[in-house]
């Protein structure tokens, strides 16, 4: 049947060369190349569950009185938006499972993006010609964080209301443009116009997902165009790609990963509670709860807000820069500025402007690895500082003591980590030791195929069958080669 379908298409639009080329696309083998795919599949789950949720969500601030299934909310006044999400959780068949899966998928989506970014950064995969694709990826990280924030802010429960209040203050804190910008976004003074939830909805379910989808398409198309980068090894050069072809090897592997990601997310959605909005209750501007926290991917911003001293810049009786600016706006700007500028910065620092298709192991470039580790430490300290209140409640460590500790530690630790990581990398590079692998560093000998045909299957005992060496730009092999 598949053959008939393919023939149907081939005889009419002549697809078979393209399909043949696609099926023979070679994926280099390394488990860390799958991290981005985890993010991709989490996005697929997000879209699927998100479409379901939009059937039931109502972006309305109109006040209603609850008469649903959840007893503690009986008779309470709330917005229609909040009521619709409580109903998704308690009245819509499978609604809670889908809602929780959606939220877990959002959390895991950003986890996977961060892991993927770590892999790309520490292996030098962002170097020319892949720097453009790296910028696309960093943009998607920023969009994903914003998307998550908008998602849990739409619910209009107590936590989302408090989160929006912080977002409003941060927007207001931008010098000069802050006030008008916040008024523009919210449609007036906090909590904003009655259309505000509709704005969130449009951005959350239309603009950002479409932007993410387009960027993913660009991301993948660029990868196909440039081919995957790969780790150096015998038979692997700057001009070829050694690995598993899409069909029959890699496609099945990738489908397996899709199923695994979906399984983990649905398992979490069914078994572990996330954002129990019925327990937080509806939001009113005069209400608050102790220990309110953002989702994890905004924890570094709440931490930075806590760590920054209340410095303000006044001109006469005009507050030019309020205290929220440093932690809430300047810090994330600095973090993303670093991420965006690193490829160019590294080119300038090393003077290496060549094209690179072979990856480096973290130890191969001690300075880059040390800079990345120091930067990650800096952000991680702010992230940890975001939970100081809960650490105080749970462990009894004095709050102000913690804040002062992280303030100092956050500036010392990156330098210490830089020095330490650089030393470790240099040592590993010198000795070629693999402390995590218990492996001497000997690389299995790969058989070399003849080079005459231009595109040759590599035969060897240790590699998975079907691995191929392809040269970029070469024509696909004749059938049966």
């Amino acid at each position: 049947m598949i053959a008939r379908a393919v023939r149907y298409l081939d005889e009419r639009v002549g697809t078979s060369p393209a399909i043949k080329k696609a099926l023979r696309y070679v994926f280099p083998d390394h488990w860390s190349f799958l991290l981005g795919e985890i993010a991709l599949y989490a996005f697929v789950v997000l879209v699927g569950t998100g479409v379901f949720l939009t059937f039931w969500y109502e972006p309305s601030t109109a006040h209603v009185t609850y008469h649903g299934q959840y007893e503690p909310l009986q008779g309470l006044s709330m917005s229609k938006a909040y009521e619709s999400v409580v109903d998704i959780s308690f009245a819509v068949p499978a609604g809670l499972l889908i809602r929780q899966t959606h939220h877990w998928a959002a959390d895991v989506f950003v986890v996977a993006i961060v892991l993927h970014l770590v892999r790309v950064f520490f292996t030098g995969a962002f170097r020319k010609p892949r720097d453009v694709n790296y910028y696309v990826g960093v943009t998607m990280l920023a969009l994903a964080v914003l998307e998550g924030y908008l998602g849990y802010s739409m619910v209009d429960d107590l936590l989302s209301g408090m989160g929006l209040a912080i977002g409003y203050s941060v927007a207001m804190s931008l010098p000069v443009v802050g006030g008008p910008l916040a008024f523009l976004l919210w449609g007036g003074e906090y909590p904003g116009a009655s259309s505000f939830l509709t704005r969130l909805l449009v951005v959350h379910v239309l603009i950002i997902p479409v932007a993410l989808g387009l960027l993913i398409a660009v991301h993948l198309a660029t990868i196909v165009r440039q081919h995957h980068s790969q780790f150096p090894g015998p038979g692997r050069t700057e001009r070829n790609t050694v690995g598993t072809p899409l069909w029959p090897g890699y496609a099945l592997r990738s489908i397996g990963l899709l199923l695994a990601v979906a399984s983990v997310l649905v398992l979490l959605g069914g078994l572990i509670q996330i954002n129990p909005i019925w327990e937080w209750g509806p939001y009113a501007t005069f209400q608050s709860t102790n220990g309110a926290q953002p989702d994890w991917y905004l924890g570094w911003l709440i931490g930075a807000l806590r760590l920054m001293p209340p410095w303000e810049l006044h001109f006469g009786d005009v507050t030019l820069i309020p205290a929220t600016f440093w932690g809430g706006a300047l810090f994330p700007l600095a973090v993303f500025a670093f991420l965006y500028s690193w490829p160019a910065l590294e080119r300038r620092l090393t003077g290496d402007r060549r094209r690179h298709d072979l990856l480096e192991r973290p130890r191969d470039n001690p300075v880059r690895t040390a800079v990345g580790a120091a930067f990650a430490t800096w952000v991680f300290v702010a992230f940890v500082a975001g939970s100081t209140d809960r650490v105080f409640v749970q462990l009894g460590i004095a709050y102000t003591g913690q804040v002062w500790f992280w303030r100092v530690f956050g500036w010392i630790a990156p330098f210490a980590i830089f020095w330490l990581v650089k030393r470790v990398c240099e040592e590993l590079k010198r000795t070629e030791a693999h402390p995590l692998r218990g492996w001497s560093g000997a690389i299995a000998e790969l058989g070399r195929g003849g080079d005459s045909a231009g595109y040759t299957a590599v035969e060897q005992s240790r590699e998975s069958p079907g691995s191929r060496v392809g040269r970029r730009g070469d024509p696909p092999p004749p059938p049966g080669a």
Partner: protein, 276 residues
């Protein structure tokens, strides 16, 4: 079951092993999700608490001499031998409502080890009869007829209690009564608070907490708040493991440590390394 799994993983050669593992995981996930969904569909009925337990502490003028003896022994080093207080050390107990003394003694917050400490819930230092004696003594220092505040959760409305708790209490005690942080104090969680503790604390305002007299929170509203606080011990949960009801911090840990490491493991199993 185990044989089935082994058969599936070993004897189905026409599917690659990673796909087989993933399919098995997907099946397990699906069935567990159905079970979880079923659990989350449990009837939305919060258990109605029974009547408040008979009040433990009684004010009995006959116990005053015994109470005074206990007071001199255990409390006078801060509050003074005549209970008029010691300036800079401990306050006078004259005209202190008996509910205050009962709250501090019964929840183990008094006597303090160090006078600068924040009084925190602990094992009571005295038995029920001794507490009655001490409270009777404190009551004898104030106007006659003072009573210990009470709350009856059985007469309260859960929804009203939730609403009032969010408005008056959640800012410090956290909306599910898990406690929190405020300037200068650790806010206690309310997971072991009894109705009488709640009533006494609301009326008195222990330590940094403000007092709420009857003009702000009526007796029936107090009953509702007590009902909600007791409800938070075992809230009507849905959606699986509640992670302590303290919000996104444990959720982030699950996302990273559980889901993140599980997916890393899958990636490690599926994505092979041809260099090794």
């Amino acid at each position: 079951m185990r044989r089935l799994a082994r058969l599936w993983l070993r004897r189905v050669p026409w599917l690659p092993r990673p796909v087989r593992i993933a399919l098995a995981l997907a099946c397990a996930a699906g069935s567990l999700a159905v079970v979880a969904l079923d659990a989350s569909r449990a009837p939305a009925q919060a258990p109605r608490p029974g009547p408040a337990p008979a009040a433990g502490t009684r004010i009995d003028p006959g116990l005053v001499p015994e109470g005074r003896a206990l007071f001199v022994d255990g409390c006078s080093s801060c509050h003074g031998f005549d209970a008029r207080g010691i300036p800079g050390v401990g306050p006078s107990l004259f005209d202190v409502p008996p509910g205050n003394a009962d709250f501090y003694l019964r929840t183990g917050r008094m006597p303090l080890d160090y006078q600068r400490d924040e009084p925190e819930r602990g094992r009571p230092a005295y038995g029920a009869r001794e507490i009655s004696a001490l409270v009777s003594y404190v009551a004898s220092l104030g106007p006659p007829g003072a009573r210990i505040p009470r709350a009856d959760p059985a007469r309260g409305e859960l929804g009203e209690g939730f609403d009032l708790f969010t408005e008056h209490c959640a800012g410090c005690h956290q909306v599910v009564g898990q406690g929190g942080l405020t300037i200068g104090a650790r806010v206690p969680d309310l997971q072991s608070s009894e109705p009488t503790d709640i009533a006494e604390a609301v009326r008195m305002g222990p330590y940094l907490m403000p007092a709420f007299p009857e003009s702000q929170i009526s007796q029936s509203q107090l009953d509702s708040i007590a009902r909600y606080v007791l409800y938070t011990r075992d809230p009507q949960d849905a959606g699986g493991w509640g992670l302590g009801h303290i919000g996104p911090i444990p959720e982030g840990m699950v996302a990273w440590l559980l889901a993140g490491s599980a997916l890393l493991l899958v990636a490690r199993l599926i994505g092979e390394r041809t260099t090794s």
